[in-house]
């Protein structure tokens, strides 16, 4: 399941909806990305997330399908917010449920790494120095690469 939304989310409620009455689940791994205040020389006052409506959902659906193919998952949820967010606010949720904890952990980390390099979102940071578009990090590419099989298009 994927959702792209402006609104905040409640982790407990999302987990309850994800697991439901499925008693085959033995573990749920959740990652929540949060707006960090310290990102460069100046403290961040806010950031705005722009995205590509249509393609975002398509890419999230694709990667969810890939995770479900690679790991035995009983449930999978990605929520990514857009719009203006302040330090401490939640940006993204990735939750994976599986019979066994290792599948849940690996799939969650795979999805999180992948979001950083493939999901069409862009962060505009605001600080005392004015607005600044965040630059992509090589370390994120490296993190995503360790999951790659033989993806042709970059």
């Amino acid at each position: 399941m994927i959702r792209v939304q402006r609104e905040d989310f409640d982790v407990s409620a999302e987990m309850a909806a994800l697991t439901g009455d499925n008693h085959a689940i033995g573990g749920v791994c959740v990652f929540v990305g949060v707006v960090r205040e310290e990102t460069g020389e100046e403290a961040l006052s806010a950031m705005t997330l722009e995205h590509y409506p249509g393609m975002t959902e398509k890419e999230l659906r694709r990667i969810e399908a890939e995770a479900r193919e690679r790991w035995q998952l009983e449930g999978c949820l990605i929520i990514h917010r857009y719009g203006r967010l302040e330090p401490g606010q939640q940006i993204v949720l990735v939750a994976t449920a599986s019979a066994h904890r290792h599948a849940a952990f690996e799939a969650c980390q795979f999805l999180t790494d992948w979001l950083k390099t493939k999901a069409p979102f862009w962060k505009l940071e605001e600080s005392g120095q004015g607005p600044r578009w965040v630059e992509a990090k090589d370390s994120d590419d490296a993190a995503a690469t360790r999951w790659s099989r033989d993806d042709a298009a970059e």
Partner: protein
């Protein structure tokens, strides 16, 4: 053909989306970008460094040699920074 721009490419180009009709000589993404650079200083600046330009045709990531044709939606944007 619809071109959409995001993030600082959008700001530099000064437009978020536009309908264009390139000549028949424009056959792929690379040709399209070269042609768009002639549309003004903003476009030229936005597309000056192809190493930081990512391209999607009909919402799928593609390389510069990917063909383009009438009716396509072509998105130009910097490397993504979500998550």
């Amino acid at each position: 053909m619809k071109i959409v721009y995001f993030a600082w490419l959008r700001e530099k180009a000064g437009v978020s989306e536009e309908q264009v009709s390139p000549p028949a000589t424009v056959k792929d993404v690379k040709g399209l970008i070269e042609w768009l650079c002639g549309h003004g200083a903003g476009h030229a600046e936005a597309l000056a460094d192809l190493s930081v330009v990512r391209v999607a045709v009909n919402q799928e990531y593609v390389h510069l040699d990917h063909p383009v044709e009438a009716g396509d939606e072509i998105a130009l944007f910097p490397p993504v920074t979500g998550g």
